[in-house]
Symmetry: C2
Subunit: 610 residues, 2 copies
């Protein structure tokens, strides 16, 4: 039972129970759960007894009764919704969770006796106490590939065959509401055509759009011909096929438009950050493609080309463009810029920020009345997505601040109930890496996020995964007020997904003890998905990358074909399954069952039972 209890604690306590009529979700078998549970237990053993062997039961007891008093006071100060909170943990409701219901192991457990349930419940509570925090620091360590970029001659970066063939193809939303895309590609040999031919069935391109072309130099690197074409006036909820390039070198792809703006429109987003171009990056992008995510929310740090010098910077922007094409030519990527896009290089006379990035990754900023491609908003299905720039001016009076002030007023929760913010540097982070680097933006925007009840803020930057409770620090000021973050139902959940897998490696050192605001954290590569079900419910997953062995890159499919068909997203990783490593149901009405209240819930129960 110790193992089973731990297993439930490790994942289920961060899953609130769902209403009986909630959809079944996308459950997958939990083959790795037992191993993860072992890890958690090993961690707790280590914490509680150091190098001294002790009976397993002992580490579950509260080590210090004063500690309990302290945290019960916290409940009274604001961590509480006692009556509703207590009622929301009903073990009999657990099977209604979609993911869990798909697990035979899980179902078996819930056939146990009342005694087993009570034992489980106690172990959950006490293991929490022994941690000194309701937050979880997962010690799971998965084998990773070396943090080095894939060599340029690897097939993952292969230049498509044919003279002047379009490469580095990517699409992004082209308007405010999802009836347009911007298609970008590069031709290496000459300008070539700016045209996109597109239509509703494969090989039948009855429409044409004309784009623009540009190139630029960066130190002594000269870019290819960068084409950007707005394809607008599209129908909602429709698969489009498109063709770019000339003659035998032309290439074919497809994309799917979202449903019309509608509060109950379901939609699945993938979230990736800090991707880079290593084998780990490849694993992440291909795992994400397997989830069926329809659009990627990218939270900054694309190519890590700035870790190269001189001519190679541009070369690695090109290779990354070819690398990301496997997804970005089919699913729109909503871009936000990270610090690796700044590329301030006085030593080679390149000091204008974001030059490579801005030339290559257009955004529909004008549609949301922004004055910069670096901050903007799009609406998609039932979501209003706001993209912020951590490395542009954002304090009061600056253009980004003034724009956001207006954009937040334009959010219509009756049409787009889900309000999502993307940025690069996280406002809440408890990793040693980049700790407090988001403090400047927090000081400026956090009160707005609470006032407008942003649902979730996704960030990258820290090469690990972390999720916060719903907390805010808006009552802090330099002379009085609250000193530290407090639970706040109006606050977003802050999620850091900077674990895309770049050459800088993982950020392995979390601050100890885990701060109160941190709900779950683990230093593994992965990506997230946010699956909006309707106007009130969404299922959020963080998915750790798999254990697959090193990619057999020589199995890369032949891209050239005499018979033109639209290209398939290629998979170079033998994906076994996607591990659901952190799963949260988001309730827009932020009831007591929401993620913010697990801490108060646990402490209140401890208070009653003690």
């Amino acid at each position: 039972m110790g193992i089973n209890g731990q297993q439930l604690w490790g994942e289920s306590m961060i899953i609130p129970p769902l209403p009986p009529n909630f959809g079944r979700g996308v459950g997958r078998p939990s083959k790795t759960r037992r191993r993860e549970s072992d890890e958690v237990i090993n961690k707790q053993k280590k914490r509680s007894r150091g190098k001294q062997p002790m009976p397993e039961i002992q580490f579950l007891l509260p080590p210090d009764s004063n500690w309990l008093d302290l945290h019960q006071e916290e409940v009274q100060d604001g961590w509480s919704q006692p009556s509703t909170a207590i009622s929301s943990i009903q073990i009999s409701q657990f099977p209604s969770h979609g993911a869990a219901a798909a697990s035979p192991t899980w179902q078996h457990k819930n056939k146990g006796s009342m005694l087993v349930q009570l034992l489980f419940f106690s172990s959950v509570l006490l293991s929490c106490i022994s941690n000194g925090s309701a937050g979880v620091t997962s010690t799971f360590v998965r084998n990773e590939w070396p943090s080095v970029d894939i060599p340029l001659d690897n097939e993952v970066f292969a230049v498509p065959k044919g003279y002047n063939a379009p490469q580095q193809v990517h699409i992004t939303q082209g308007d405010y509401d999802g009836k347009a895309v911007i298609i970008s590609w590069v031709t290496a040999d000459e300008e070539g055509s700016n045209k996109v031919r597109y239509g509703l069935s494969e090989g039948k391109y009855e429409f044409t759009a004309e784009g623009t072309v540009q190139n630029y130099t960066f130190y002594n690197y000269k870019s290819g011909y960068i084409h950007q074409c707005l394809v607008d006036g599209l129908q909602y909820d429709t698969k489009y096929f498109y063709e770019i390039g000339d003659g035998d070198s032309s290439r074919r792809f497809w994309f799917r438009t979202p449903s019309p703006i509608d509060p109950d429109a379901p939609y699945k987003f993938g979230i990736i950050g800090d991707l880079g171009q290593t084998y780990n990056s490849l694993s992440t992008i291909e795992h994400c493609m397997q989830t069926g995510a329809e659009t990627i929310l990218f939270v900054g740090d694309l190519s890590y080309a700035d870790r190269y010098k001189y001519h190679d910077v541009g070369v690695r922007w090109d290779s990354w463009g070819r690398f990301a094409e496997r997804s970005a030519a089919y699913q729109p990527w909503i871009w936000s810029a990270g610090n690796h896009e700044i590329e301030y290089f006085p030593y080679m006379g390149e000091v204008i920020p974001f030059r490579n990035y801005l030339h290559r990754y257009p955004t529909p900023y004008l549609a949301s009345e922004s004055s910069s491609p670096l901050w903007y908003a799009v609406r998609r299905a039932s979501a209003h997505i706001i993209v912020l720039s951590s490395y542009s001016p954002f304090v009061k009076y600056t253009p980004q601040w003034k724009w956001l002030e207006q954009e937040l007023k334009r959010v219509d929760r009756k049409k787009t109930p889900w309000l999502i913010v993307l940025m690069h540097a996280p406002m809440y982070n408890s990793n040693d890496a980049h700790f407090m680097e988001g403090e400047s933006m927090r000081a400026v925007f956090e009160s707005w996020f609470c006032r407008y009840k942003v649902d979730v803020v996704f960030a990258g930057h820290v090469h690990a995964y972390e999720r916060s409770y719903r907390i805010s620090n808006i009552r802090y000021n330099v002379s009085s007020g609250a000193s530290y973050p407090v639970p706040d139902k109006s606050a977003p959940v802050y999620i850091t997904v900077g674990d895309g897998g770049n050459q800088e490696g993982l950020a392995l050192r979390f601050r100890d003890p885990q701060p109160d605001y941190s709900a779950f954290r683990e230093a593994s590569y992965g990506h997230s998905t946010l699956e909006i079900k309707n106007k009130t419910h969404a299922l959020y997953h963080w998915n750790r990358n798999d254990d697959g062995k090193r990619v057999p890159t020589d199995s890369f499919g032949n891209q050239s074909s005499k018979k033109k068909t639209e290209e398939k997203p290629s998979s170079l990783c033998p994906i076994q399954f996607t591990t659901e490593s952190d799963i949260v149901n988001l309730h827009r009405n932020r009831r007591s069952a929401d993620v913010a209240h697990h801490k108060s819930l646990l402490f209140r129960l401890v208070g009653i039972s003690s």
Copy 2:
């Protein structure tokens, strides 16, 4: 004695005693001191007794003994340098202070008996206790002119006579070390000459420098021809005469180069912020000119032209250029940009920040290896001056951050012992206006300011005057550590001088109670001077504007003259005297006598006497 004690408390307690060999300074008669003391007493009466008349002695007693305990704990926590601090208040040393020595009233007081000294001392301490803070909130209110811009047809904005005559003349340092100036001017009718003719005696211009010319449009406003000319290779410590413009329309001015970079070089800076173009602005600029300040450190918000619309924005930039010329054509102004320079106007399609400002106010940013005119550094005599941009990116990884990281390493305290930072939004401010707006930059740069022992940070933005103790908040973080600022010998003194006098008026509401970090604050118009004496001592004044009646603007002198001589800085204000409203000796070695330790000093003494 109550009155005398209050009088000394109101000013002297913020003046540390000086070593016997310290220079005499620039003392002026204190004609307004008695009236200020009355104000302080009235304020304290109001605070302590509300509407109930009480004997005057009672409000001087500590109202609550618990309060004393609390603050004695603070002493133990870090506000203390007890033994040296106590010895540094020796009343017999007071006459050695230059400013005080010049006051007959002051000298008289120090001839009093030991009993009188003790009484004074007690009243100082107890009045501090009754305030609940060692900081001073002055309630002095001086009559002010209406906060409206001077009409455009006023002589203060007069266009110089003659076809295409140069106008809006201003100079700034042109290199890193003070051997160059950039001279800027505008011609309205045609481009005209870009030449500056200059020399060592009036009317004898043996040298010539050639500049550039440009113009620009802003919405439907078309600028004049903006000339900028670098005059370099100058001799140190030399008065230069210069002539610009053609034929009868030419105009003559002068400037003085600083002494060579030398740690003991004395130098006098004036500090002005948030100037605008009202009658109060005029009073401020002319008062500052009377102090003999050799260079103006301007902390942002020049013209407030952004409060106009469409064509008038440009018009008011022009009028401000003519307004400021009376000083800026003679004394270099070291520019920093404020929020009123941003001018983000989507309604008229003008969204590129700082456009008017950057076209008109060049800075020598390349000389300090900066990539933007908005942040840079200059060295002048014994001072290293760093200009930061509050409204440009400044977080980690941004160009400003990377530049400052390098520039701080270039500071050589053996050559320039005085390290001064300018910015617009203050990092410490206790006014309701703009409270916590500097928090973002504080979170990023404060630790560097302490590590490099910046002497003083000047800011504007808040339309009032305030000076901090030497404190820092660098131990604060979102999960642990100190919650609030603590005394820190390595920290700068933060001074807000946003009280230049613009059309937005004064920021009259200070937060109550006065935070521990705030040493002195008053909502009056004024400017500051920083008079560096040698490598270890400087005298800092904040000077409140005078009581002068409304400016008799029709007395403006005729600028045109058949006989060409260099023009004199014109005075339109009948200045009576400059009131020294806040005076501080800065000791670079930050001994116990320095401004940071008055609070601990007082509390320690209270602890001993109680």
